[in-house]
């Protein structure tokens, strides 16, 4: 039961702080057109569409309906999924299940956000319980800052370790024409940037962007017929745990540990650092790019700082992470996770241009959001 599924096309917009030249639907159509071109198919070959974003960033209810013009969804099946920061990876999973179900052969998944249209902090603050938690909710940075403080004191990680991650992602973005922040930085620049919430500094964290991403999924036979080298979906796993922020474990990242463990099992991965050729990870702050590596089973708990210092996750390292520049360079929230999926697919398909890693056979994708939720997707050049 169930089809095997491959990704056959990816498109994204040029991401920016504010895309004044494109309304939300125009931004969406830009990504969709590029994905269709990338797959060398036309819209009439798309059987169904799924779209997602976060409502309160643009104040549009029923986005799947409103976006019809941009999506090309008129007289087509479409619906919306949304899960906060993981919306993009949720869309990837949804495109996969659409095609895997056997109901649809070719499915378009589209994530987008016009973060320039609202005060992102204000909109995010409404994610907390409106009566008990909204007023003192000061964004995701507080918990991320605290968890890294704890990690530093327990395992001897440093602010410089995080800075190395920020430098890696930001400088990788220089090779990605679609990336939002395009600036060459050094560890010193990061260390000298303004402190936001100790130990996280301005250059450690992601921006907010306008952008959209579209990924085309196809069932096995269709994928083979349409695409010379599809990126096959080997696993898609999501793990949530708590509803209240105050319940979360800060010492480690349980959802990521469980999600990656389950995904590795499905894909037959036993030595992730060796078996993956590239990873596009949802790292919203450079500190997560240190601490969370433990939870991806790249090393023992506490081993991440050494991986970072050795350059294991650099472009020329054992497992290049975020060749695209990652979330720290580009963050149109509803699209962010899908950009990870799309970038990883391009790596497998050999279409990543100047930030292509050589000979990618297996790629790892993660998503992060909500109340510390984790999504993991594994793509590969061989049929699963």
């Amino acid at each position: 039961m169930g089809n095997r599924v491959g990704i056959i096309g990816v498109g994204q917009t040029h991401h920016a702080a504010k895309r004044l030249d494109a309304s939300g639907t125009e931004l969406i159509s830009e990504a969709v057109s590029r994905a269709l071109d990338d797959a060398e198919i036309t819209l009439d070959q798309i059987d169904a569409i799924v779209v997602g974003n976060m409502d309160h960033f643009e104040n549009v209810n029923y986005v799947d309906m409103w976006a019809t013009d941009g999506l090309g969804a008129c007289m087509k099946p479409v619906f919306k999924v949304t899960t906060g920061g993981t919306t993009g990876t949720t869309l990837g999973a949804c495109g996969y299940y659409h095609t895997g179900s056997g109901i649809f052969d070719t499915v378009l998944a589209v994530g987008w956000e016009k973060n320039s249209e609202s005060d992102t902090q204000a909109a995010i603050a409404t994610c907390a319980n409106p009566v008990l938690e909204r007023d003192p909710f000061a964004g995701a940075i507080g918990p991320l800052a605290t968890e890294y403080s704890m990690y530093m004191s327990v395992y001897g990680a440093t602010q410089e370790d995080a800075a190395i991650v920020a430098v890696r992602d930001r400088n990788n973005a220089l090779n990605n024409p679609y990336a939002h922040n395009q600036m060459k930085v050094t560890v010193e620049d990061v260390m000298n940037s303004p402190m936001l919430s100790f130990p996280i500094k301005l250059l450690d964290i992601c921006p907010r962007s306008d952008g959209a991403c579209a990924v085309i999924f196809a069932a096995e036979e269709k994928a083979k017929a349409l695409c010379p080298r599809p990126a096959w979906v080997h696993a898609s796993v999501v793990r949530h745990d708590y509803t209240h922020f105050g319940d979360l474990e800060w010492q480690w990242m349980p959802t990521l540990e469980r999600a990656s463990e389950a995904a590795y099992k499905l894909a037959g991965i036993t030595d992730p650092l060796n078996e993956f050729d590239v990873a596009e990870l949802y790292i919203p702050a450079s500190t997560c790019g240190v601490k969370w590596m433990d939870s991806l089973w790249f090393c023992e708990r506490g081993g991440a700082p050494e991986l970072i210092r050795k350059g294991t996750l650099e472009m020329d390292g054992q497992l290049p992470v975020n060749p695209s520049g990652g979330v720290i360079a580009t963050n149109p929230i509803g699209a962010t996770g899908l950009i990870r999926v799309g970038e990883a697919a391009w790596q497998v398909m050999g279409k990543a241009g100047d930030h292509q890693v050589l000979d990618v056979n297996k790629a790892l994708v993660t998503g992060f959001g909500g109340c510390s939720w984790s999504d993991v997707m594994i793509l590969g050049a061989d049929l699963p």
Partner: protein, 154 residues
């Protein structure tokens, strides 16, 4: 159900969401509203493939998904396709005092309709199929209110 639940004072918390937005109008509608604001004209755009004419204009044809770069000026008249007389007030949502009339106007020279206010006709006299024309606002700011309303052509 546990007993304590029956004894609790029932709290209903009155809250709000007040986040302002600044929506990007984008290339297609900026041109539409720019012409409307500066020249008091209503334009549309045409699909190069199926030749359907859309108002409001779009970047792409909703059927062919072709870019639409050919713009056409509309005469501003049309046929009232459907209407409703709004009687029940919704303060804060409806910008007009009830009763007022909404209509969808199938625009002459276009294949689609525009939704707008219908004025200059008594609520009990309005009917579908009448010919109406756009009344442009005197103060125009580059949004849909640059059309004040549609009214019957006498």
């Amino acid at each position: 159900m546990a007993d304590w639940k029956d004894e609790v004072e029932e709290i209903v918390f009155d809250g709000k969401i007040c986040v302002p937005y600044s929506w990007t109008v984008g290339s297609t509608l900026s041109k539409w509203y720019g012409i409307m604001r500066d020249d008091a004209e209503i334009w549309a755009n045409r699909c190069p493939s199926c030749e359907m004419v859309f108002v409001p204009p779009r970047k792409k044809c909703i059927y062919c998904y072709e870019d639409m770069n050919e713009w056409v000026k509309l005469p501003g008249t049309g046929i009232l396709e459907t209407y409703t007389v709004v009687e029940h007030p919704e303060p804060g949502v409806y910008p007009r005092e009830t009763p007022f009339i909404y209509g969808i106007i199938k625009m002459d020279g276009a294949d689609t309709g525009l939704v707008h206010f219908i004025e200059g006709v008594e609520p009990d006299k309005v009917k579908s199929g009448i010919e109406v024309e756009a009344v442009m606002s005197k103060e125009r700011e580059g949004n849909l209110m640059d059309i004040e309303c549609f009214r019957p052509v006498d």
